[in-house]
Amino acid sequence: MTFRFLLRRAFTFIVLFLGITIISFAIIHLAPGRPADALTELNPKVSLEVRERLTRLYGLDLPLHIQYIRWVKRCVRLDLGTSFSDGEPVLKKIAKTLPVTLLINTVSLALILILGIPLGIATALHTRRLGARLIDLLILVLFAVPTYWLALLAIDLVSVRWRLLPPFGLEGIDHAALPATAQLFDTIRHLALPITLSSLTGLAAITRYVRQNTLETLEQGFIYACRSRGLTSRTILMHHVFKSTLLPVITITGLSLPGLVGGSVLFESIFGIPGTGRLFYDAVLMRDYAVIMALLTLGAFLTLAGNGLADLGYALADPRIHREKS
């Protein structure tokens, strides 16, 4: 049964994955415009020949399905091609931007889970207390307010008015000349604002999910059964409630897997962070097909993988789930 479950998942995975790449490939190539240096002002010194040469060099004059097959063949060999804009291998480009985005998003995700779950349970257990209500309200506000706006406010307060933290960038100008501990401190100072702000929305979301779920679980019949068996509140909480509150956490964590590598364009622009969000955005503007496809493929893969892992996690946390399905 479990084996069939896995097999079916794997099959869907492959079909979906191929489908996504075909659709992405078709859409970006059929969209009007073509790769070129993006210029707002035309400069006559960039001649027509250059544009035609670019087209030939990258085989953009071939029929679309042949271009796609060529792309798949290269991908199988793990060759994602080279960027149109500067000739750099796409893998290298992604490797340069990914660590930053990954670092920020992983730390944020960790913060979200570490703070969000206890906070959610706590607010669920103490719904009548003023503190819990205030936290609840605050979380609702955080969830609703656009992060970029909060980010701008935070920069204005923390960086401009109080001069506590740098407003953007990953490191200070003198970073390279600092001793190792000072370098670490410099990096932390630069990442403090972006990480805090990118955690806020996620924190609000997970706290609300956990809170809601805990409240629902607490009203279930088996909790009364536990109580009547004389179990302590602590045991009930740790052994029975906690496990079921994990479900939404698993879903959200699984679904945020692609989010780990896909940086937010707006966010990375505001904080001047050279991450994958900015790479993707620039690539789209320049019609840098190789980079766009590589990032879309990576995103598709991780989305599907995240979904798959979430399903598996569910199956492990709640055996009813795959029994119902299979």
Partner: protein, 552 residues
Amino acid sequence: MAHSGFLTRIVLKNRLKISGGFFLGLLVLGPTRSCPAAEETRPQQGDTLVLTMPGAPRTYIPILASDTTSASVCGFLFNGLVKYDKDLNITGDLAASWDIEEGGRVLVFHLRRDVRWHDGVPFTADDVRFTYEKLTDPAIRTPYSGDFTQIKDLKALDPWTIRVVYAEPFAPALASWAIGIMPYHILKGVNLNQGHFPDRVIGTGPFCLRSERSQDIVELMRNDDYFEGSPFIDRIAIRIIPDESSVLLGLLTYEVDAASLTPLQYERQTQTLFFQKEYQKFTSPGFGYTYLGYNLDDPRFQDPRVRRAFNLAVDKTAVIRAVLLGHGEVITGPFLPRAWAYDTRVADPGYHPDQARSLLENAGWRDDDRDGWLEKNGREFAFTILLNQGNLQRRQAAEMIQKDLKTVGVRVRLKVLEWNTLLGEFLDKGRFEAVLLGWALGRDPDIFDIWHSSKTRPGEFNFIHFKDPEVDRLLEAGRRTFNQTEREHFYRAVHRILQDQQPTMFLYGTQSLDIVSSRFQNVSSSLIGIGHNMRAWWVPRSRQRHTIRMAP
């Protein structure tokens, strides 16, 4: 335009500069505020200048550098054979002198013998020959090959003499040699298309690249061995900041020392006491102009009276005041107002909607049905202006044109398109009625590619399909002689014809607005921008901010 919306700052703002050493780009009329008196008057070494650019350099190969950042950074790292001096005259850079022979068909460059690459290897004619070979190699993705394909033969007569033979006299040739010369001993056998030096970047310029340490900061160190004398500033650090409002934050938090500002930032957001104390600001005319181009295959625009009427109907001064907050100037022709080719005697006819209306009436456009819109043979005069996304200033200018033309009875619609779409699907294919765009111009007045009737194939730059035999003849003559007086004569004649014919409505030339921390001394204006003497910028020791010594 020089200053534009958020989108544009990231990648679209991307103009070509075939030039060495021009910081932030542009020419300067004068500082709006003078430097504070320094306690120490003798220039001192040290400190770091922190600049910002909207994107990371895509390449350090000068012949591939087509985006603003790459071109600017290459300007610090490399030299051409020639350069423009602060008065916009061509002078020697790596070439000490040159001879123009056989009526301009042959250029002989005598190279400086005291130049060494950043790794200590002497610079010779081999490097020039190598750069030329790469420029004309069809496999290399350089946008600068155009001027060099005119070369018939290039020979090194000895290690310090280069003889370049052109198929016919070609005036823009001399200026084209401002292209950065690349080191043969490092790059031979390297595939330049991958855009990077095999190990570290080796140039001849006043600064050398320290490291490509991240996508975040590009660091340039002083070249102590620079042939014209090393700079005073130890280091230039370029912060990549795509968002223009973040640039302002950088200035406010001392994270950034110098930047280009938008008119709004210049006029409204940097007027506080803080900025007056900490920064000096500079205004400079830019190297581009904005225009409204008509599709001259459209029968309505084939009548010059209609085009002249439109020119009279639009209040350009009002556009400059509202959109650029005054930081621009009305232009009357296809050259930059500071260029010698620009005929200053050609006057703008001014804003005269009444004359415009009667001209349109002469051309047969009347409001017979009294609905406020003009008609001819029962057809209303309505057309669409295309413009590109992400350029707020152009959008606002278009709206003002729309309003002005409405008052003379012409209905204008605006359509904003993504840049590549605008170019590929509409301009190249001739599917447009009018378009609001800008031209970025080089320092040589050769505008053959924009106005010659042979340049109307899809993808070429005469997409408005302007055809005038007299202009063709003048443009051909203008690139065949090196004599500036003769060229001036030809180009000013072109200027007069274009003002009379109005194939496009010349709107305004933009300005470049720069801000520099007031601790930098000796920052001054010139016709090529505030970067003309960057080697002479210095900071009094008491005000130096970055005193940590860096290993090169």
